[in-house]
């Protein structure tokens, strides 16, 4: 999955919600409140970065290492829930 490029699933919208004081995912008739790390990951799932790239960026932003496992498993769950679509690099 590392080469895949995640983007939001059809019908989902990601935004900051002041009244909830967190990032949320909006979808038909519902809302998912996101914790801080989910918000940081999803904010980067805009179809321009690979999973590998997202991990690298987060590690840099938060000056840490070893985030790959957490990010990958979150993205895997999010894909299963259709919050995200994973586009594989073709070729």
């Amino acid at each position: 999955m590392n080469d895949g490029t995640p983007r939001l699933g059809h019908g989902f919208r990601f935004q900051w919600e002041p009244a909830q004081d967190c990032h949320v995912l909006l979808y038909p008739e519902g809302m998912i409140k996101l914790n801080r790390s989910a918000g940081e990951i999803l904010a980067r799932c805009d179809g321009t970065r690979s999973v590998r790239g997202i991990v690298a960026e987060l590690e840099q932003t938060f000056a840490t290492a070893g985030l790959a496992g957490e990010v990958e498993s979150f993205i895997a769950i999010a894909v299963e829930k259709r919050w995200l679509r994973l586009e594989q690099e073709t070729r």
């Binding site: 059809h10 919208r13 919600e17 909006l26 038909p28 008739e29 809302m31």
Partner: protein, 375 residues
């Protein structure tokens, strides 16, 4: 009495923008006296309501009615709602939807359309065979899909169409539905007037669920199907509206703010109008919205019941309609002293042929006649 907990913000602003509708559904959820509330908020009023709702923290905005397409400022309202950051939902029968309007909704940023499969004729049994209806739905469904919206359909199920549920699902599939809600009629408003004719027997319901399960398995890869079981048959009160004044804020065409779209009928409660108070005051401070929040208002058997947090005593409107007391346990609950009224209705549905009375169609004339009679 416990003080009600301070509620969070509403998640939903439901804008019932008009009671006008070209259709005459026998299960319509609009109030029976809708024709006596003809006044409609202006565009500017609605824009203010949208703004106040968003400031209050609402994230979902539903445009419904009546038929919301009958407001020719709907594109403006949707555009503003989207700009404010709402997830925008249009709930429509599709009657009056054109390519041009859909393009305008797309440009306005409309997120989601739910197409309700109503009967556009007065021949309820024509529902499925009536080609004009089907052609219309097919056309509308295609136009919606072509513009990249998912096809989401809702069909109200009742005694007169439940026998054809397989055909309904098949048709939804032909229309490219990705999500199908099969909602058993709920007995309020017009559906209550027609309850005898609309309530399915247990056997009908069982068969329909079995058929739905087969289709669920068959279409698992492309359609999600939700079958909403009627609370009468289940004998289980529902947590109505997910709690009174908890999730939903409904604004009716004339600007009356309600915790649910039928709450206006409850006696002894007055609900504020958006012309007189801000949505914030309405949500947090109005007696109407606070009246049945939480569990503090309950009497027995709910007060000491282990399920009271789960179902909050069921539906206040149903308690009022069936038990004559809005503070009573919802009579669908077996613990309700008035539960036999629900059992009687269920028993009537078991009699072959059921009701012979003619159906009462939702229309303004009928509505006015009933207001005049005080019914």
């Amino acid at each position: 009495m416990n003080a009600p907990r301070q509620p969070g913000p509403p998640m939903w602003l439901l804008a019932e923008v008009t009671y006008r509708c070209p259709l005459h559904c026998v299960f319509c959820y609009n109030p029976v006296d809708f024709a006596s509330h003809e006044h409609e908020l202006s565009t500017d009023d609605w824009l203010r309501v949208l703004r106040e709702g968003r400031e209050l923290g609402a994230v979902q905005c539903g445009f419904s009615g009546g038929e919301p397409l009958l407001r020719d400022d709907l594109e403006i309202l949707v555009g503003e709602a989207r700009r404010l950051g709402y997830y925008t939902n249009l709930i429509t029968s599709g009657v009056g939807l054109t390519e041009a309007r859909l393009d305008a909704f797309k440009a306005a940023g409309l997120d989601h359309i739910q197409l309700s499969f109503q009967d556009s004729t007065r021949e309820i049994n024509d529902f499925l065979s009536h080609t004009r209806t089907f052609d219309l739905k097919q056309k509308v469904a295609r136009m919606i899909r072509e513009r990249g919206w998912p096809m989401v359909m809702n069909v109200v199920i009742h005694r007169l169409n439940i026998g054809q549920i397989g055909r309904i699902i098949e048709m939804a599939d032909e229309l490219g539905a990705e999500y199908l809600e099969l909602a058993n009629a709920q007995y309020y408003s017009w559906a209550l007037l027609n309850r005898e004719q609309l309530m399915p027997s247990r056997e009908q319901l069982r068969a329909a669920e079995a058929i739905t399960d087969e289709w669920k398995a068959k279409l698992a890869d492309r359609m999600r199907i939700l079958f909403v079981v009627p609370d009468y048959h289940e004998g289980k009160p529902k947590k109505c509206m997910n709690g009174w004044g908890n999730v939903f804020l409904t604004v009716t065409p004339d600007g009356t703010a309600l915790p649910c779209h039928t709450a206006r009928m409850l006696p002894g409660l007055s609900f504020p109008n958006v012309g007189d108070s801000s949505l914030r005051d309405i949500w947090y401070d109005s007696p109407g919205f606070n009246r049945y929040r939480g569990t503090g208002w309950m009497k027995q058997p709910c007060r000491d019941c282990e399920h009271k947090e789960e179902d909050l005593g069921g539906c206040r409107c149903q308690a009022y309609l069936l038990a004559g007391d809005a503070e009573a346990a919802d009579p669908v609950c077996p613990k309700s002293p008035k539960h036999e009224r629900v059992l009687d209705a269920l028993a009537a549905a078991e009699r072959p042929g059921a009701a012979q009375r003619p159906l009462i169609f939702r229309d303004p004339q009928e509505s006015r006649r009933r207001c005049a009679e005080g019914a």
